[in-house]
């Protein structure tokens, strides 16, 4: 249950915010406005945030299995 949260915690605050805004259905323009980013930087931030989330999530899974 806490896995999603732990994975999200592994992200920097900025990355997390952008990812969650995107998950909330915001457009890139909206995300840029709220996160005070250039629109062009949203994709880059999302690319990094997604990769980290996926990594953190699968690492957590491995740890859980190992226990």
């Amino acid at each position: 249950m806490g896995q999603v949260r732990d994975a999200l915690d592994a992200l920097s605050e900025r990355d997390r915010e952008v990812l969650l805004l995107w998950d909330a259905g915001q457009s890139y323009t909206e995300i840029a406005r709220q996160a005070k980013l250039a629109v062009g930087a949203v994709g880059t931030t999302l690319a990094r945030a997604r990769r980290r989330l996926a990594e953190a999530y699968s690492n957590k899974e491995l740890v859980d299995v190992a226990r």
């Binding site: 259905g25 709220q34 931030t45 999302l46 989330l53």
Partner: protein, 424 residues
């Protein structure tokens, strides 16, 4: 052109190329079509993106929030200064352990409470499955005076709207989207006169136009510690036959920021509505309407609970609500694990009336429809699937017919059926 960078690939995957200031969408598409290296990278990034989607759509963690004073301070730090009403909060403090659900699945009042069956619902995938906790659980909770104030305002406002609608039905203007606020099991009680006190499972307290600043304020002020669900009900003028206040898209945009606010306040965790809103945006992107059909949200226990609503103010009485549609125990058996649920509805018309229908998302664009036919109805009674490319597969299980429809081969549908059976 040179190779496409990761950020642009993600913008491409998110359908946001046109939003990029420098993005020449056409050149990027052409390059992707021609460059095997970039295509490979695109596939990899797409896999990661899909993974994130699945992770974020996963089971929602328990919401453990910091104290509400802290949330309030954070909210104030990120939003423009508000009226003096917000200041009292620091003197009052917050009552702990309020259990509150925003939106237990009911709808806007026109001249009465409109049951979900007559309007469009954008359905969060988890919402219909949330069993309300027993009505008797949970002690009475004292609401902060400022939250109570806002709640009263919301109740009065939605009642006034109902009254206006009753007196001039032809002229009524409905908001496109409404946040329905109701409680699951708690009793909300404010210390002062004119309390809004609610003491029943699933009572609708008020519906707020999501475009109204009050909606955002309420979401900030109400205790969100144990947010169960937040429903967003979106109306379509063509269904109700009345003009809507704003175009659907702009109203959804407002709603999105409301949801984002909620999400931020609730510690960044997803609540079902946040995903419901994403559906809506996707639908709009594809030029379709945000219609998901009828959704029977109320569970048996919720339907059985009499709408009790006690308040010291007679004008805050609840409206009668029609009993919810019957739901058998079949819904749990109608969902193929691993796919996002779009909707669940009772079939009320046509040869399959009395059955159940679920829609699940197979991919961004493909949907699986599963029909659970009532006893005595056979697949041959149904009209053929409307769209080209939709394959139908029927299976007889425990005296009932299950019909699956999706743009997939027969074999693939059989595999899906096996997954469904394994889940029983």
């Amino acid at each position: 052109m040179s190779h496409v960078d990761q950020g642009i690939l993600h913008a491409y995957l998110d359908g946001a190329l046109d939003e990029l200031p420098s993005g020449d969408a056409r050149a990027i598409r052409e390059h992707l079509a021609a460059c095997p290296e970039c295509r490979a990278l695109l596939e990899e990034e797409e896999g990661i993106r899909e993974q994130t989607l699945a992770i974020l759509a996963g089971p929602l963690p328990e919401v453990e929030l910091p104290p509400l004073e802290e949330l309030r301070l954070r909210a104030e730090a990120t939003s423009p200064p508000r009226a003096s009403r917000g200041r009292r909060i620091h003197r009052m403090g917050w009552a702990a352990s309020v259990i509150l659900a925003i939106g237990a699945g009911y709808a806007l009042r026109g001249d009465q409470v409109i049951p979900l069956g007559t309007m469009d619902v954008i359905d969060g995938p988890n919402v219909p499955w949330l069993e309300p906790p027993p009505a008797e659980a949970g002690p009475a909770t004292v609401l902060d005076a400022s939250a109570n104030d806002l709640l009263r305002q919301a109740v009065q406002q939605s009642d006034a709207r109902a009254d206006r609608a009753a007196s001039a039905p032809r002229e009524r203007r409905l908001p496109n989207s409404v946040i329905a606020i109701s409680t699951e099991r708690s009793v909300l009680k404010a210390p002062a006169d004119g309390d809004v006190e609610v003491s029943s499972a699933g009572s609708v307290v008020a519906e707020v136009d999501s475009g109204d600043p009050l909606a955002a304020e309420l979401l900030r002020a109400l205790p969100l510690e144990k947010l169960v669900a937040l429903d967003v009900v979106t109306l379509q003028d063509r269904l109700l036959g009345v003009p809507a206040q704003q175009p659907l898209a702009s109203s959804l945009l407002d709603l999105t920021s409301v949801a984002a606010t909620t999400k931020r306040l609730s510690g960044g965790l997803s609540v079902p509505a946040v995903r419901a809103i994403r559906f809506a945006n996707e639908d709009l992107d594809e030029g379709r309407v945000a219609r998901r059909g009828r959704v029977a949200m109320a569970s048996a226990s919720r339907a059985a609970a009499a709408p009790a609503f006690s308040t010291s103010d007679a004008s805050l009485r609840p409206r009668e609500r029609r009993p919810s549609a019957r739901r058998g125990g079949a819904e749990g058996q109608l969902v193929v694990p691993g796919f996002e649920l779009i909707s669940l509805e009772n079939i009320e018309e046509g040869p399959a009336a009395g059955g159940l229908r679920t829609l699940q998302r197979l991919t961004q664009v493909d949907t699986l429809e599963l029909l659970h036919l009532p006893e005595g109805v056979v697949p041959g009674d149904l009209a053929a699937a409307e769209q080209d490319g939709i394959v139908q597969h029927a299976a007889f299980r425990n005296g009932e017919w299950l019909v699956m429809r999706a743009p997939r081969s027969k074999q693939e549908l059989e595999v899906l059926l096996e997954r469904l059976d394994a889940n029983r």
